[in-house]
């Protein structure tokens, strides 16, 4: 049975009980996904799927926020898997529940199930007999395991999935109603702030609490090793107290951060675990006449959520309640249990919406901060919010990467071999996956847990450093190797796409270079190396829509980039139009995307547009700055991101395939857009920049060299 379920839905196999997903109450359908809203619109897409399968109006759907222990455990809301995992589980669960109710209705009404129809939850048969989900709900227990025995509707039978319904969460946000965890502070809530050093990996060698003790409204000062914080009656008092505490703190650090300007070389010199990711030998190897070897680099990139991380916690004896915008409530609970040495059952973790996080930011860390501070004030809820500076310097970053590709060309200049090598820190240190906690404060306590070194997910889960490093093209031979660093002076964890942005940038840049060297059109060159029809379709659609390739104008260039995210996810091709004058300006991005069934097409477009714009920001502007002792880009001034006046026009074509199982759209655009911009800059100026970000200064330096 479980094996059958596994084939249908991984989430259902882990959480088979139907009632953990769906319940009926007072004219409503209560849907409990294990995935959480992070601004991607998942709540709406899942509601559409449920309403469709059950034949109820979408206004009857009530979406429950994930919380331990009742919600299905779907791990982490990451990897563009929410529609794939949660959507599929809900679709199959609802199809089965619909069948269970149809059978029960048939029995009650004395008719055959196949003559019944369901309209907005009302189950009717011939001769005006009818009942409803809600009438029957009392007699039907959904505390039974799913069998996946009922076939969900075909794409042609669906009336909601496949349509751009308005998102359910938008009215609250447009009218300024409290919806974010940052906006929640129930009466009686105390406010906490944590003191963190500007120095990286700092030790707190002295803490004079005298000034902080004088702050009116101070409730507690917590000091445990290198961890220190305050709890106060009001937020303003907490700010004042932590400022006062800072004045009494002395830090030391033996941190030796890398030389920011020699980062790529530094990455290549560190101790690492080396893994051959893929290797393929040619059936009839061609003689390599010439090799072309290039090195690419991306810096550390900050998540840069607009909202500082925030959490609330409350202790009652040895029972802890935590409210969080973490992407994985069960995973966070596991790590909290390790830190506090409590059974998991003693801890409940409830999700509340936060701002977009774009991966593993400070959301989980601040939850431990809140729990540590709240322990000092039993019975009282403590809300903790990070400062902007902490958000930009203590949350994990997307890992810096050095990537080298060596292509062997035969006597006709065709690609005969391909060697792709990656040096990078691991791309994930999410909580809940290891024997030791990965939460920041866990390594700061007087009895510290070891500081977790980031790992890479296995290739079967899409990999980390190596994500999208295996070419999608029909090259005769390749060898892909990843060197994951075992030292981590700068903290890294999952940022949107993990290593895929860097690898796609590298592969697509070199392909472009080879095509241009051959005097071949970059689109035609790619198509010549692709047999997969869906890959070809997105490239052709993007090219067609962008009128590839427009007539050359001075200072303007066009470039293309393509990838299938994680090799198993969404297909995406991007054409960039850039203008290089005083600065580098991306004027337009034209994208085509294929996610299979687009449950909410406008939601898909929104994700692709957003991904394209965020990638443009990464490419043109973003780089975590540091000296040898500290992160220096701790404000928006020092870590600028793309502004309204710099944002390109973005056009998205969705290739609709309603009959094919849906995959996520949130990370599909970043790699292709990065490569498209780099290739367009070359097209405009004839200079290739292989280090991100692509800035005016670097362009000038490269032109002087060439």
């Amino acid at each position: 049975m479980e094996h059958e379920l596994q084939k249908v839905s991984v989430s259902l196999a882990v959480n088979p009980k139907l009632s953990s997903w769906i319940n009926f109450a007072e004219g409503k359908v209560i849907v409990s996904p294990g995935k959480v809203e992070i601004g991607q619109g998942i709540v709406t897409a899942l509601a559409q799927i449920a309403a469709d399968e059950l034949d109820v109006d979408i206004s009857r759907i009530e979406m429950v926020r994930a919380a331990t222990p009742a919600s299905p455990n779907e791990g982490v809301t990451s990897g563009s898997l929410s529609v794939q995992h949660s959507g599929r589980a809900i679709r199959f669960a609802c199809a089965e529940i619909r069948q269970i109710f149809l059978n029960a209705a048939a029995e009650r009404l004395g008719v055959a199930p196949d003559v019944l129809t369901i309209t907005d939850g009302n189950i009717a048969g011939p001769g005006n007999v009818s009942t409803s989900y809600w009438e029957l709900a009392g007699d039907i227990s959904l505390d039974r395991d799913a069998t996946a025995g009922a076939q969900p509707k075909s794409s042609a039978q669906r009336t909601l999935a496949g349509h751009s319904l308005q998102r359910l969460d938008i009215p609250d946000k447009v009218f300024g109603r409290p919806r974010f965890i940052q906006d929640s502070a129930p009466p009686g809530t105390l406010h906490g702030r944590v003191l963190r050093a500007e120095l990286a990996l700092a030790r707190l060698i002295e803490l004079n609490e005298e000034r902080a003790r004088k702050v009116e409204g101070l409730v507690a000062i917590v000091h445990d090793g290198n961890f220190a914080g305050v709890v106060c009656e009001t937020e303003a008092a907490a700010e004042a107290a932590v400022t006062a505490l800072r004045k009494g703190a002395k830090w030391s650090s033996s941190a030796a951060l890398p030389d920011e300007d020699g980062l790529a070389e530094w990455l290549k010199q560190q101790p690492a675990v080396s893994t051959v990711i893929a290797s393929k030998n040619a059936t009839a190897p061609a003689a390599v006449a010439r090799t072309i070897k290039r090195q690419y680099h991306r810096p550390y990139i900050a998540h840069g959520s607009i909202a500082p991380s925030c959490a609330m916690a409350q202790w009652d004896g040895d029972i802890v309640r935590v409210w969080t915008h973490s992407q994985g409530v069960y995973n966070l609970r596991s790590d909290l249990a390790l830190v506090f040495k409590l059974p998991r059952e003693n801890i409940t973790v409830e999700h509340m919406e936060g701002a977009g996080c774009y991966g593993h930011n400070g959301a989980d860390d601040v939850a431990l901060d809140a729990a540590l501070l709240a322990k000092a004030t039993p019975g009282r809820t403590v809300r903790v919010q990070w400062s902007r500076a902490d958000e930009m310097s203590h949350a994990p970053f997307g890992a810096a990467m050095a990537i080298e590709i060596e292509a062997g060309l035969d006597s006709d200049g065709e690609i005969a071999s391909w060697r792709h090598t990656i040096w990078s820190n691991g791309h994930t240190a999410r909580p809940g996956r290891a024997e030791q906690p990965t939460l920041l404060a866990a390594s700061e306590l007087a009895a510290p847990f070891p500081r977790a070194i980031s790992l890479d997910p296995p290739p079967a889960s899409g990999g980390g450093s190596d994500r999208n490093s295996v070419p999608l093209y029909d090259f005769p031979a390749w060898n892909i190797e990843a060197h994951r660093l075992t030292v981590m002076p700068v903290r890294t964890s999952a940022l949107r796409t993990l290593g895929a942005q860097g690898n796609t940038f590298a592969i697509e840049s070199l392909l472009d270079e080879i095509a241009v060297d051959r005097g071949e059109d970059p689109v035609a060159f790619r198509l010549r190396h692709l047999t997969d029809p869906r890959s070809r379709d997105v490239i052709q659609a993007a090219a067609r829509r962008a009128n590839w390739k427009p007539v050359k104008q001075d200072g303007v260039g066009y470039g293309i980039g393509f990838s299938r995210y994680k090799t198993t996810g969404a297909y995406c091709a991007a054409v960039a139009e850039v203008e290089v004058g005083e600065g580098i300006r991306v004027r337009k991005l034209t994208l085509a995307v294929d996610v299979g069934e687009a449950v909410n097409p406008d939601g898909v477009i929104n994700q692709i547009e957003g991904g394209a714009i965020q990638a443009t920001s990464w490419v043109l502007k973003e780089r975590v700055r540091f000296d040898r002792t500290r992160i220096t880009s701790s404000s928006w001034t020092e870590y600028p991101i793309l502004r309204f006046s710099e944002v390109p026009e973005v056009e998205v074509e969705v290739i609709s395939r309603p009959e094919i199982d849906p995959v996520g759209a949130g990370e599909a655009a970043h790699g292709p857009v990065t490569a498209a911009i780099a290739n367009a800059v070359f097209d405009a100026l004839g200079v290739r920049l292989r280090s991100l970000p692509i800035t005016r200064d670097r362009l000038i330096a490269a032109m002087e060299l060439s």
Partner: protein, 156 residues
């Protein structure tokens, strides 16, 4: 310490607080208006923008005394579900956000623009919103929403 008086979303308001307290802290903590968001505390991201008289201002670094005897409008005062502002209708129509944390600041910035220019060009909208950061990449939808609201305001 004298109380500070100002007009908040149309109602006379009197606050007993340190005059140097940031306006955002007063709005959120003392008055329970949480629609204006804390993002950076340094006036760099715009998530906390409100209207002071007819100008968009970052409230996280505006001391309370600076709004004495002025009119402050927050997202809660812009419109309601029953009587939405044209911008609120337009942002829903364009589905002009992803996470929406930056949204209230951006709508207040846009509201200030529309008070002085009901027929802005795309470039003017972008320039007016340049002090506001959006990390999700919803910029183009937001610009379209502002242009839609402007068009609606011109014809109504």
């Amino acid at each position: 310490m004298p109380n500070i008086r100002f007009r908040l979303n149309g109602a006379e308001t009197e606050i007993d607080a340190d005059p140097d307290t940031p306006l955002l802290t007063v709005l959120r903590s003392q008055l329970g208006l949480t629609g204006s968001h804390f993002g950076c505390g340094a006036g760099e991201c715009g998530a906390c923008m409100v209207l002071v008289d007819d100008h968009a201002l970052t409230s996280c670094d505006a001391p309370l005394w600076s709004v004495a005897n002025k009119a402050v409008t927050t997202i809660e005062g812009l419109g309601s579900e029953q009587h939405p502002h044209a911008l609120q209708r337009a942002f829903i129509a364009e589905q002009a956000l992803q996470c929406g944390y930056c949204l209230s600041g951006i709508m207040m910035s846009a509201a200030a623009l529309l008070k002085r220019n009901t027929n802005p060009t795309t470039a003017e909208v972008k320039a007016a919103l340049d002090r506001n950061l959006c990390r999700c990449g919803s910029h183009n939808r937001m610009v379209r929403a502002v242009l839609r609201a402007a068009a609606e305001m011109r014809t109504s």
